[in-house]
Assembly symmetry: C2
Homo-oligomer: 157 residues x 2
């Protein structure tokens, strides 16, 4: 558990709740998108780092499994595992929890790619970004592959 990175925490905003009275599908992803920003902050790609390197991350692909409803005002947090890394891509796995609970409310895998904003075009990570990513990834190598990684949608038979 402790190897996971806490990348976002906060209450569920009332503006994120839909006609079903719970967090709308897209706003689970907004929370996970903020969690990816949280990861970027940790590896030197915060606003100042993006300006200094001219690099940023784009999402290529995302997969989300909705497991439990979440209501407005609930304090939630995101924990992040790095699943894989190459010279310019990082495969991240986020889980959403009520603050300090281990129950998974939703799981989100994201494939992110490093971008030279002057293109925009994909480009290898800046050296200092890559070394921070590798340092975060190292303790994750021995973690179990999580339940909702690499999933594809299919109608049950």
């Amino acid at each position: 558990m402790s190897a996971l990175i806490k990348t976002w925490s906060g209450p569920v905003d009332t503006a994120w709740v839909d006609y079903n009275g719970h967090l709308r599908d897209a706003f689970y992803l907004l929370i996970f998108s903020y969690a990816s920003d949280g990861l970027m902050d940790l590896i030197g790609l915060d606003d100042a780092g993006r300006k200094a390197t001219g690099h940023t991350f784009y999402a290529l692909e995302t997969h989300l499994n909705y497991l439990l409803e979440v209501k407005a005002g609930v304090p939630v947090e995101v924990r992040t595992q790095i699943l894989a890394l190459d010279k310019k891509r990082v495969d991240v796995y986020h889980t959403l929890h009520v603050h300090e609970s281990d129950t998974v409310l939703a799981a989100n895998e994201q494939m992110l790619i490093n971008i030279d904003s002057s293109g925009p075009k994909s480009t290898p990570f800046a050296p200092q970004v890559e070394s921070r990513l590798r340092a975060l990834f190292e303790p994750h190598r021995s973690l179990a592959r999580p339940a909702f990684a690499g999933r594809a949608i299919a109608m049950p038979i």
Copy 2:
């Protein structure tokens, strides 16, 4: 092309744009979430239909492929194909386009399940909802399986 259902259209809201100057990942999904609402409207699960039946849809799982950037103010639309249907689930495939363009900006598969809101628990579609879904699905049976259906995230080797 004509068998696809136009389920949402409108401009990209400036509030949906992030520090990269383009539509944020989560707000592609908000557009696709509105498109699923558009589909619900067409099959009798608009606000009045939800009240009358006591039913609604929840998203179980979603997969999104980001293909091209989109900037604020661009008029976009969503076209929807029904991939599969059982007694209580519908597997939908949305594509995002600039208004009247066939270029795909993003693709999103969603597995939706019919819910009795009094539980909430899953339950078969109301008969009139199922018949409308089957009528929309019928011309989609002969369409090609789309490019980004059933995808799983994996690091390229």
